[in-house]
């Protein structure tokens, strides 16, 4: 632009000077000089206004809404980020193959385990929302639907339907768990519930807490979108990462905490009992999602009758490619048997598990997953990240459960399970998993009934899982 201006001035000035050569009058020379100066000013003004126009256009661009598409999803945002809407997605396509299952029909096959569009966002800077329906499984359900107000990172309020603050592995995102299915500890803790929670991360997550009041759900259950009785359940969790902000690298990834619930209810239906996944009655499932235990007395039925509390100490440790996650859970529930031979009991079931992992390609393992250093791109030598994982777990049913509340001929009283697997993270969004799980049972297996849990506990469970997952 300076060159243009200089040229313009020189050209015009030269023409005028040319005239001055013919001029023999000093006044005329002065007038011509003034004209050059005036033209110079005009050019400078044009240039400056051009600069200001560019500045104004840049300011306008800064104020324009932002659209971003990357491995974390699609995001629309106001320029000041006070208003944000993001679209994420999770699709899990699984295969399950059971070995030596002696006549358990219908458990092998392909499965659309999860198919979720995930809508998240922010309105007015401090209000976040999440709406997550699921189209996987047998019916469409709302999994998450909540509003969160961030007064400060350490003081937030959440209302709606979301994961109860209890299980360590359960609170981990579905897309980043070590295995296709969570451990048997998950059998004893609540899943998603409807309620209100106060929570926060103090000092960037050195200490996290959550306290909430919920409708209350049976073990491993997702809440319906409404309550089933009058009482409430209270849930709380405290989790510390004491070295997170220190320079002690080997301990930065250590986290330890405890969570629990307390609720009281007396209902005449079975919704206070554990999830019915894998069977027709409330009960507990194996790693292969088969029901090995059910509240299935030979006659009569079982309902909740009073206090139900849970407690779950939990810890994890991440250091470089190594990961270790462990948790223990107790679910203590007062039950009532109705029908012939009515009875009451306070039954306490327990479970624990330890999951370990090692990223073979050297990336850091974290609670939020593994991000490959070299995404899959064979033409350029990128093969993603590979991780070996292993897990051991046990679940023990209270001995007083049998025979009044469950049939010892069909339901197991305990299980022991181990799994190992290989996860291949092609890139941030696509993961392929393969794993093998073996589960052995104590008790059960003596009934000839061709349905769960009797046909599941007939023999050990050996299952091979695979998964192709898209998560963005």
């Amino acid at each position: 632009m300076n060159l243009k201006r200089t040229l313009a001035v020189v050209v015009v000035g030269g023409a005028l000077v040319g005239q001055t050569v013919r001029a023999d009058d000093a006044d005329e020379l002065k007038a011509l000089k003034q004209e050059i100066e005036a033209l110079d000013q005009k050019v400078r003004i044009l240039e400056r206004n051009g600069e200001l126009d560019k500045e104004a256009a840049a300011d306008k661009a800064k104020a324009a809404p932002i659209f971003k598409a990357d491995g974390s999803g699609f995001t629309f945002s106001s320029a000041d980020t006070n208003f944000v809407t993001s679209l994420h997605g999770l699709i899990q396509f699984d295969n399950r193959t059971f070995f030596g299952d002696k006549g358990v029909n219908g458990n092998d096959g392909f499965l659309l385990r999860r198919a979720r569009p995930i809508f998240t966002g922010t309105v007015f800077h401090d209000f976040d929302y999440n709406f997550t329906p699921d189209f996987g499984g047998t019916s469409v359900q709302i999994f998450d639907a909540y509003l969160n107000y961030r007064y400060q990172p350490w003081l937030q309020f959440r209302a709606g339907k979301f994961k109860a603050p209890v299980g360590l592995e359960n609170l981990q995102a579905d897309a980043v768990t070590a295995f296709n299915e969570r451990s048997v500890v998950n059998d004893l803790i609540p899943n998603r519930d409807v309620g209100f929670q106060v929570w926060g991360d103090i000092d960037g997550g050195v200490l996290s807490y959550a306290v909430g009041v919920f409708n209350g759900v049976g073990d491993a259950r997702n809440s319906a979108n409404f309550d089933f009785e009058d009482n409430r359940e209270f849930a709380g969790r405290i989790f510390a990462q004491p070295f997170k902000n220190t320079n002690i690298k080997p301990l930065k990834g250590l986290g330890i905490g405890v969570a629990g619930t307390w609720g009281e209810s007396s209902v005449t239906n079975t919704t206070g009992l554990p999830s019915t996944t894998g069977g027709t009655l409330g009960g507990y499932t194996t790693d292969g999602q088969q029901q090995f235990f059910a509240y299935n007395p030979a006659t009569g039925s079982v309902v909740q009758n009073g206090v139900h509390w849970r407690i779950s100490p939990q810890a994890y440790y991440y250091f470089g490619p190594f990961s270790l996650l462990g948790e223990y859970a107790v679910s203590d529930q007062h039950l009532r048997r109705i029908g012939p031979s009515p009875a009451k009991a306070d039954l306490q079931n327990t479970a624990w598990q330890v999951t370990a992992g090692w990223v073979l390609t050297g990336e850091d393992a974290t609670y939020s997953g593994v991000t490959p250093r070299h995404p899959f791109d064979p033409k350029n030598g990128g093969w993603g990240a590979w991780q070996l994982v292993g897990r051991y777990g046990q679940l023990d049913i209270d001995n007083n459960t049998f025979p009044l509340f469950a049939n010892p001929a069909s339901s197991a009283t305990a299980l022991e399970t181990y799994s190992f697997g290989l996860n291949w993270y092609l890139n941030k969004d696509i993961t392929v998993k393969a794993s093998y799980s073996h589960t052995g049972f104590t008790g059960g297996g003596k009934s000839a009934t061709p349905s769960a849990p009797s046909n599941v506990t007939h023999q050990d469970e050996d299952v091979f899982f695979t998964r192709i997952q898209l998560a963005f």
């Binding site: 200001l52 006070n82 400060q152 050195v206 004491p242």
Partner: protein
Amino acid sequence: MKNILKSGLLTALAAAAIGLTVTSQASAKDVTLLNVSYDPTRELYTDFNKAFAAYWKQKTGDDVKINQSHNGSGKQARSVIEGLPADVVTLALAYDIDALYEKGQLIPKDWQKRLPNNSSPYTSTIVFLVRKGNPKGIKDWDDLARTNVSVVTPNPKTSGGARWNYLAAWAWASQKYNGDETQIKDYISKLFKNVPVLDTGARGATTTFVQREIGDVLIAWENEAYLSLKEFGTNQFEIVNPSLSILAEPPVTWVDRVVKKNHTADIAQAYLEYLYTPEGQEIVARNFYRPRLQEVADKYKSQFPDIKLVTIDAFGGWGKAQATHFADGGTFDQIYKPN
């Protein structure tokens, strides 16, 4: 026995979690403040922030980092209302800070009573910066309306300084034409016809005049005019003091909503109060703002010539002045037609 073991395990885990957390909490305190200011205060607050950080470190042991944001005063006020997390605002005029209460409820209505001198720790006025030798012979406001004079001043819609410029010109014309509004408007209209470039802020206008070499006269903050002399030398520019100008009182305040959220209320208040101390006033004067503290004002008396000054009260206060002159459809919109 089984239950005792479980209880013991749980208690130990909880105690370990809490205990380990408590031991990791002790750490040095680092504080960050954001000072959202108007255009020409960059140098003032660069100096002042260094002094305050040293003072605060000595007083409390804490390290404070003060980030600065500068632009046209009105534009900055809008940014804060729209979410720019300013711990303190140090703007060109009270009207812009009033907007933080009126449009954002970010501060209390009576914010101006929280600090001395209506929360204005320093003042300034409006003068002319002309080229060396004053080739157009500019002496007073009427010279700016001559057809052969090119005037540089920023846009009163976006710049607090420009509003002071405009009102100073209006005050002079009001005196000259005995309050005859038709003649005053005619004068202001002629003045703005001579403005070839309308920058959004005072610093931009200085750039236009000093660096881009546009125009014969810059209507400028006194401090900005002196800063130009300091930076570019007296062999390039001269300052002309008009016969009448306006007392500009740039105010300051902390933004309650933000400091509450950031837990910076105490330090934000201390930061602004430090402006009133002898040390703060010295820095103010060194940066060519007129200090409030008499002992410092006396020391720098020769730097600030006596000029007859009107105050914003002559216009009925900032609320009325804004509504009459600078609101959409106001006097400025009526008289200003882009060239």
